[in-house]
Amino acid sequence: MDEQELIVKVQEGNEMAFARIVNIYQHKIVNFLWQLTGDYQKSVELAQETFMRVYFKANKYKPIAPLSSWIYAIASNLAKTEMKKARRFPSVSFENAENNINTKFAYTRNQKNLDLIKDLREAINSLHPRYKIPVILKDIEGFSQEEIAQILNKPIGTIKARISRGRNYLKKGLEEKSDKINIFKNGEKANGRI
């Protein structure tokens, strides 16, 4: 049964079809929300709310866009509201997520890579949601620019600009962090510690 058939069944009130959709998207949505909010508990709560809306607002879904775009749109709207409510951009709490973080890395878990990931995460969190959401959808979730435009309901030109600007901010943030590390290391060398 494909996703379109599933959502039609959900529109009829079929809970089994809904459970199937939850099963397909649960990890993707929790991860997406975790990347956005940086708070694992909050991301689980928001994911739950996302699926509630999928069930109760299923009749509003129109099959002009893929189901995934619609679910991600709901999730990103919830995350945006949450971020506005919090009036701050929360930092990542690695401790909360530790048990549920996928250990599938392209890098080996050495200190250097952990530092890089930590820096990257900090740089992502420092981005304004305007740039953070498109960058995460593009570079972490792997959506195309057209799909992101559909999810965020914005013109494709705007999305392209936001992705590009967001990436520049990320790059700048990472460069600043690596400069700081180099200054620190050079200081240590000069002191004869290294």
């Binding site: 809970e15 809904f18 459970a19 939850v22 099963n23 649960q26 990890h27 949505i29 929790v30 991860n31 975790w34 990347q35 694992y40 991301s43 689980v44 994911a47 739950q48 699926f51 509630m52 069930y55 109760f56 997520a97 549920n100 973080i101 996928n102 599938k104 890395f105 392209a106 890098y107 990931i117 990257l120 995460r121 570079d139 972490i140 792997g142 990436r167 990320l170």
Partner: protein, 133 residues
């Protein structure tokens, strides 16, 4: 931009093991809540419409109606002003007081002309706003 491909390998969070169960549990709770909310809404709507019906019935059949009074006056063949006066009389009874007026002090004493009394009357077309006692 290939230099950002490494971000696909960034750490990913997974949903908790019991997430699906939690969602379905929450779904059944919300369904019950929605049914209750709907019932409350319906009862409120029913109460408000009953109040509205009572207000309409009261205003139509119990309270005196302006339009019906006018219509009854027209049926009697009275003009709207007359009907208003009649209505006013019906509402507030008044006692007529007759005063004698001496105009002798108003007479001008002209030497070669006969004595003339000038009586000033209101000639405007507007309704008489006489004082009622």
């Amino acid at each position: 931009m290939e230099e950002f491909d490494f971000m696909k390998n960034i750490e990913r969070a997974k949903a908790p093991d019991d997430f699906e169960g939690r969602v379905l549990e929450e779904l059944s709770k919300r369904k019950v809540k929605n049914v209750r909310t709907r019932q409350i809404r319906l009862s409120f709507a029913g109460a408000f419409s009953a109040i509205a019906v009572i207000i309409v019935i009261t205003s139509l059949f119990i309270l005196p109606h302006e339009e019906t009074a006018k219509f009854s006056a027209l049926e009697k063949g009275l003009s709207s002003e007359e009907s208003m006066i009649e209505k006013e009389r019906g509402r507030k009874p008044f006692i007529p007081i007759i005063e004698e007026v001496n105009y002798s002090g108003e007479i001008r004493n002209l030497s070669h002309e006969a004595q003339t009394i000038y009586i000033l009357e209101q000639v405007s077309e507007s309704t008489d706003a006489s004082i009622k006692y």
